[in-house]
Symmetry: C2
Subunit: 214 residues, 2 copies
């Protein structure tokens, strides 16, 4: 058996685990705080350990940030994906998906703000982690687009690109919503729905260069 969780080890047992540090880091991240601004000492302080003890659990602060991003991404993908697949009436899937997405801005876990606050700044490992999560979002959306199109008998011309356009636009609008009060968020949802439907409509007929501007 390799590496059991309750393996008896030799030396002094860890007073804390990776999970505790992650929790401490999350407790520091409000909706306005970016992961990139977390410092090693700050996280250690919140976790109740000495600064140097951090290194026993993560090689550096970037590794923690990447870990947080990955966790946020996979959690959100499950939430959003489940919601999307549970929607039956296809004519409301756009609006409902967008509303659910925006609702996640206020979720207790704070995962969506975490992901949105990292534009494209920070270390390389950092940006790649965010980008990877966005690509996963795109992949799953593409699958759902194909599923919906097959079930309702319409075509999607460039499903991967349609999924990309939708994903990127949703995240950009979500980022904008992050700094807005609820009232403005509502009309941002309305605007987003219209914009998303433009993409979906436009993806439903094949493009000829001459046809795009008649």
């Amino acid at each position: 058996m390799p590496d059991n969780a309750v393996t008896k080890r030799r030396g002094r047992p860890p007073a804390i685990g990776r999970e505790d540090i992650i929790r401490a880091a999350l407790s520091l991240l409000g909706p306005q705080r970016s992961v990139a601004t977390l410092t090693l000492r700050e996280v250690a302080r919140a976790a109740g350990i000495a600064p140097n003890s951090f290194y026993r659990h993560f090689p550096d602060i970037d590794a923690l940030a990447v870990c947080l991003i990955e966790r946020a991404g996979s959690t959100l993908r499950r939430i959003i994906g489940d919601a999307r697949r549970s929607l039956e009436r296809p004519d409301s899937v756009v609006r409902m998906s967008m509303e659910i997405f925006i609702e996640q801005l206020d979720a207790d876990d704070g995962f969506l703000p975490l992901l949105l606050r990292e534009g494209h700044v920070g270390s390389d490992a950092f940006k790649q982690a965010v980008e990877a999560q966005l690509c996963h979002f795109e992949d799953e959306l593409q699958q759902d687009l194909l599923r919906l199109s097959a079930a309702h008998g319409f075509v999607v011309d460039h499903p991967a690109l349609a999924a990309r356009a939708i994903t990127r636009l949703v995240f950009v609008m979500g980022t904008q919503a992050l700094d807005q009060p609820p009232a403005q968020r509502r009309q941002l949802v309305e605007q987003s729905v219209v914009m998303l439907r433009m993409i979906i409509d436009g993806a439903q007929r094949p493009q000829t260069q001459a046809a795009t501007l008649p």
Copy 2:
């Protein structure tokens, strides 16, 4: 005459002007460097002045950042707008505009990377400055959309939202291109063109909720 440029003042003349500080700041900003990471001492060092002298020209480092963002925005809007208006064949305006945009990633002034690196992090004044520039981009694009649609006899259903969707998507894709080698950038342009045409196509017929997914 109020406040002439060559006004004789009383005390010791400034050894340096706002412009020099702006130049110094720009010299520090490579394509990978975010404005938010500039420090007061660093800029002062590059400008050849003592740290405290900075305060004679800007109230704080954020004011300089906002100034840089505004300058980058207005310069780019002129470049992009001029290019768009100089394009005559409407069937290639999308591709050409996108290509010109991406070319600006390597422009000497470095204004586009400057704007792209500021996702939505930093101080409020900061984010608002970026957002304001994006809104200006949207406004000008909307005008051009209306001009083109009038000239070629087609309709754009929600011109403001179409302009917003296009602008935000272009900026997101540009941000992605920022970290890519030329080869990947070329296919990113191709993908972007397809996505943008989806939006434009989708904006050309009015949306009914039932019609979006037949």
